[in-house]
């Protein structure tokens, strides 16, 4: 692509590409903002920047991820997502074909999720000053009445559920990025979860916590919730869903799958008496078919997340300050 001078021509091309791909009544008005009537009730808004390497990976790409990630952040408030905005930072010289591919994928993801990308912005930076494409998306949604999941609402005795297998996204990304083609294909689980959430909050409006265990995985997210709520947690290793291929890849790579990112999974915490109903609602949705109860919230002044291992011992599944550093001397 040679739109040379300052990327102006490139930005223009991109705008046209986006206008065509994302077409919807609000965007089509061509204003610098989208104006719409606010629905009644509690609104949620969230924003997220997406930086991923490689841009294309098994099961998705940065475009679909930018939609799913923000839709899921809206959904974790128990909300129905309505609109998205998108900001692009492109590196000059990024192949147009690749750009078209990821914009189409983004448009497809938005249509599948039933949300419109109603406004956006594009900037082009000099070659070498970006990593292909960065995308920032903002999502707006509305929460049904009586629904108020929040990280500080976990209570001792509550059940901890996950919607499916852990670590698929992170392992898929790693295997592609590092060219470690595994014997079996592991695909990212990238998906929009608001449909699953709608079914869950219909079944159990008083679900206490909803979270998507993205970066840092299940372990990190549960530690955040434990701290917010001032509780401990006890997981059962044997009950945590894990694909055999992901387990094998993690064993090879020396990664603990509980710290590996997910992009299409959620954690739900609810009162023990609601857990069967919630599990049933989750399993009724295709994205929750492998949902499971994986542990219990406990009283613990240390706020430890612990796990009963397959060998019957317990170990602390702690938050990490950075990468998984070695610990064995």
């Amino acid at each position: 692509m040679s739109h040379g001078s300052g990327g102006k021509a490139m930005a223009q091309m991109v705008r046209e590409l986006f206008a065509a791909a994302f077409a919807n009544p609000l965007l089509d008005q061509g204003n610098d903002q989208a104006a719409f009537d606010a629905p009644a009730g509690r609104m949620v808004v969230t924003t997220d920047g997406f930086v991923v390497s490689p841009l294309f990976f098994p099961g998705g790409d940065i475009g679909s991820l930018a939609v799913h990630g923000t839709v899921n952040d809206v959904a974790m408030a128990g909300a129905v997502p309505l609109y998205l905005t998108a900001g692009f930072i492109l590196e000059e010289g990024f192949p147009l074909a690749d750009l078209k591919r990821l914009v189409d994928s983004m448009a497809h993801a938005a249509r599948e999720a039933g949300v419109s990308i109603v406004t956006g912005d594009t900037k082009v930076v000099e070659r070498g000053k970006g990593d292909g494409v960065f995308i920032t998306t903002t999502g707006i949604g509305v929460v049904p009445p009586g629904v108020a999941p929040s990280g500080e609402r976990a209570r001792p005795g509550d059940a901890i559920l996950v919607s499916g297998t852990m670590g698929d996204h992170g392992v898929a990304i790693m295997s592609t990025r590092e060219n470690l083609s595994f014997e079996t294909d592991i695909r990212s689980d990238s998906a929009a979860l608001h449909g699953l959430v709608a079914g869950m909050v219909a079944a159990v409006p008083d679900v206490h916590v909803l979270r998507d265990p993205t970066r840092g995985g299940l372990a990190t997210t549960l530690n955040e919730v434990a701290h917010q709520s001032g509780v401990g947690m006890l997981l059962r290793e044997a009950d945590i869903p894990l694909k055999a291929e992901v387990a094998a890849a993690c064993e090879l790579l020396g990664l603990d799958p509980l710290y590996v990112a997910n992009e299409g999974k959620l954690i739900a915490i609810c009162a023990a008496e609601d857990s069967a109903r919630l599990l049933e609602a989750m399993r009724a949705h295709p994205l929750g078919a492998e949902a499971a109860v994986v542990g219990t919230v406990v009283e613990d002044s240390h706020r430890f997340v612990q796990m009963e291992t397959r060998f019957g011992g317990k170990r602390i599944v702690d938050w990490l300050s950075g990468e998984q550093l070695p610990r064995i001397c």
């Binding site: 790579l253 019957g312 950075g322 998984q324 610990r327 001397c329």
Partner: protein, 746 residues
């Protein structure tokens, strides 16, 4: 007539010191008094034989006493004084210590097996020269109400002994007899019958419970291993006496002294040819066997029962057939079970018979583990019998607390120039062990009555110790892992001032964020300089590679430029080609200068426990097996390269590909030691140093430690080995404390 006021410091309380002084004063016709206070023993003596008194004081002190200092002041005589009195204890600023637990003394053994004695076969007899101390003491001063004996009022007979300054049990706080003391839940006869019947018996002991079984019953040993979910980690044996131990292993004078000493550790003995055959499951493929001798009356009574209850003590000298596996009852890597309910709950399903008693254990302590290295004892695991004996620091300073590392954690609290290194606590990856760490800190604070002004911890941000340290509200001082290893050795050897050290270790986070473990450090006060390190090997998979030596062998092959051989050589071990790709692409394969990982690589290349099926290997398994193969270390000329402070052992490893495991073990150990000496010598010479500190987990290996010791000695350099604090991470807290204290003093 002269009168002296004496202050005696050290281990002088709870060890029969006052009756000793009382008796001595009587013999020498002196008058005066003695009392215990927070600082130790305070006495005044008056008479003509004061010189003889002072000599005897130092020379004839009771067996468990340790005199650190005697201060004397001449004071005016009291002409009208008669007799020598033992006065009531006084409290005050505590600077004395609680004694460690001690094995049954000869006088008590004589009573135990004398049918005429009122304590005949009483499982809890003890006196001021022996018995439980640290593990039953809540706080100082060391008096019965502050111990687990608080709930056992003395019967008239015991009370009379307790009050009689001439009696061995004068003020023996834990004293007991069948009429007034603790009771065992089962008879010795039942216990022995269960053991002989192949059952697993949990026996509550001093610092925790043991799981015991008949060491010759292979099925029982296998069952114990399976129920305890313990991987191949070796089990220790208990036999009746040194004569019985000699049937299994080589017992030299140094080993005998350790076996029979009051601390009664597990002693690693080199197996002997023609030993009675033991089941493989005890210590599979290892050349050393951990053996300890009985230390509580309960243990002695089991052997007595097995010997047919002979009267008297002559049988104690003769070899006995009974050999028991004795392993600490700590299921799933959690701390020793001590509370009765707790013990019962956790031991259900492991033990067939749970033998309990009603004397509480107030603080846990595992058995200590020792071996003889270069002719002198080395502590491999510090526990019962060694805590809370202080280690004297090179200088005094403000009180600091140090919390150690992640594995084999210990804590250390200093008071003046004394460092109190705790017992082995365990790996801090579960809440129960962390709670034990917190208890240990609280207990040390109580029995030492000091409040630290700062807390030292490892540099690693994700160690629980680091987080615990940060939660205390004290100033925190991070100490680099290998600096702490070296500082620990310098501290115990009293070295104050710059010194060179080799840290030969598994892993520690480096000051540069890298993975260190084979370091040449110049330690100076609170700081250090990294003068050199081992050549880096990729560590594919991080911690996984520390458990799978074949991965390190793959990294070594890649370093030799023979990465293409990885998939073929290690096809049976796991995803070998995947590991090759990780190494080549640098995916979670951080370079490490760890000596332990070079050991692993050698094991992997030689096929020595290169791979444990199911990943169930125990830590250090492969290097221990490699050490076991050594017959006579050999040195490969040209086996190493030294370049800009970096020691590269690649030629040595490459040569291992051509020889068998036994020759390889000889060559690896011999060449590694020679290479390390050659590497350090120029730095030592340039600085005019005549000694070098050696530490880190690899120094648990006696062949390496002795090779280095001899190699440096041949060049006129004294190798300082970790002896009182473990070479592995069990000694870290001592080093951290010493670094932190120096940092506060600077």
């Amino acid at each position: 007539m002269k009168r002296l006021r004496l202050r005696v410091r050290g281990q002088v309380q709870g060890v029969g010191f006052r009756p000793f002084l009382h008796g001595l004063a009587h013999r020498l016709a002196l008058t005066g008094w003695v009392l215990n206070d927070g600082a130790g023993v305070l006495a005044e003596v008056q008479g003509d034989a004061l010189e003889r008194f002072l000599t005897a004081l130092a020379e004839d002190a009771p067996p468990l006493a340790r005199i650190d200092a005697i201060e004397t002041d001449a004071i005016p005589a009291r002409p009208d004084e008669t007799g020598f009195a033992i006065l009531a204890s006084r409290r005050g600023a505590v600077t004395t210590g609680v004694a460690p637990d001690a094995a049954v003394c000869p006088a008590c053994l004589a009573e135990l097996f004398d049918p005429a004695d009122r304590r005949y076969r009483y499982p809890f007899l003890n006196c001021t020269h022996c018995g439980p101390r640290f593990t039953i003491t809540r706080a100082l001063p060391y008096d019965r109400p502050q111990t687990a004996m608080a709930g056992f009022p003395l019967c008239p007979d015991c009370a009379a002994e307790y009050a009689d300054p001439a009696d061995r049990r004068f003020h023996a706080q834990p004293t007991a007899c069948p009429a007034c003391g603790p009771r065992l839940s089962h008879s010795i006869k039942e216990m022995l019958a269960a053991l002989r019947g192949g059952r697993i018996v949990a026996i509550k002991g001093l610092g925790g419970s043991h799981l015991a079984c008949d060491a010759f019953d292979a099925a029982a040993v296998e069952r114990l291993r399976a129920r305890k979910q313990r991987n191949g980690k070796p089990f220790a044996l208990m036999v009746a006496n040194a004569a019985s131990a000699e049937r299994f292993g080589e017992v030299g004078a140094a080993e005998r002294a350790l076996l029979e000493g009051v601390a009664r550790p597990i002693v690693l003995l080199r197996r002997r040819d023609g030993a009675p055959p033991l089941p493989d499951a005890i210590a599979s493929g290892l050349a050393w066997l951990g053996i300890m001798l009985p230390y509580t009356p309960i243990h002695h009574l089991l052997f007595h029962e097995a010997a047919g209850r002979p009267d008297g003590t002559a049988w104690l000298e003769r070899p006995q057939d009974l050999a028991l596996v004795m392993t600490s009852a700590n299921p799933g890597g959690e701390p020793l079970a001590i509370g009765n309910d707790e013990a019962r709950r956790r031991l259900d399903g492991i033990a067939d018979l749970i033998v309990d008693h009603d004397r509480d254990i107030l603080i846990r302590a595992d058995d200590s583990v020792m071996r003889v290295v270069a002719g002198a004892p080395v502590v491999l695991r510090r526990g019962r019998g060694h805590v809370p004996v202080p280690i004297r620091l090179p200088r005094a300073g403000p009180s600091v607390l140090a919390v150690g590392g992640h594995q084999k954690a210990t804590v250390c609290l200093t008071r003046c120039d004394e460092a109190f290194l705790s017992q082995h606590i365990g790996d801090l990856d579960n809440a129960a062990t962390l709670a034990f760490l917190e208890e240990s800190v609280a207990h040390l604070r109580r029995i030492l009555a000091v409040e630290p002004v700062a807390v030292a911890h490892d540099l690693h941000p994700d160690f629980q110790g680091t987080r615990f340290a940060e939660s205390l509200g004290l100033p925190t001082l991070p100490v680099q892992h290998h600096h702490a290893h070296i500082a620990a050795v310098l501290a115990e050897h009293g070295v104050n001032g710059p010194a060179l050290g080799l840290a030969l270790d598994g892993f520690g986070l480096g000051a540069d964020g890298g993975s260190w473990g084979g370091e040449m450090l110049l330690a100076e006060g609170a700081g250090f300089t990294r003068l050199g390190h081992l050549a880096p090997l990729a560590q594919p998979g991080g911690d996984v590679a520390a458990r799978q030596p074949w991965r390190m062998a793959a990294a070594a092959l890649a370093r030799m430029g023979r990465g293409a051989e990885i998939a073929g050589r290690f096809a049976a071990c796991g995803p070998a080609d995947g590991v090759r790709r990780m190494i080549e692409a640098g995916v979670n394969a951080p370079p490490t200068s760890s000596c332990g990982r070079w050991f692993d690589a050698a094991c992997g290349l030689l096929g020595v426990r290169a791979f444990s099926p199911g990943g169930a290997g125990f830590e250090g398994e492969a290097p221990m097996a490699l050490e076991s193969l050594v017959l006579r270390p050999t040195v490969l000329d040209g086996g190493w390269r030294i370049d800009g402070g970096v020691l590269d052992l690649t030629p040595l490893l490459e040569s291992l590909l051509q020889i068998n495991a036994q020759e390889g073990a000889d060559r690896f150990h011999g060449t590694l030691a020679a290479a390390l000496v050659a590497w350090a010598m120029p730095e030592l010479t340039a600085r005019g140093f005549e000694r070098i500190a050696l530490s880190g987990g690899c120094l648990m290996n006696a062949v390496l430690a002795e090779g280095l010791s001899a190699g440096f000695a041949a060049r006129g350099v004294t190798a300082l080995l970790p002896r009182r604090a473990p070479a592995n991470d069990g000694g870290l807290s001592l080093g951290q404390a010493w670094v932190a204290m120096q940092s506060l003093l600077e």
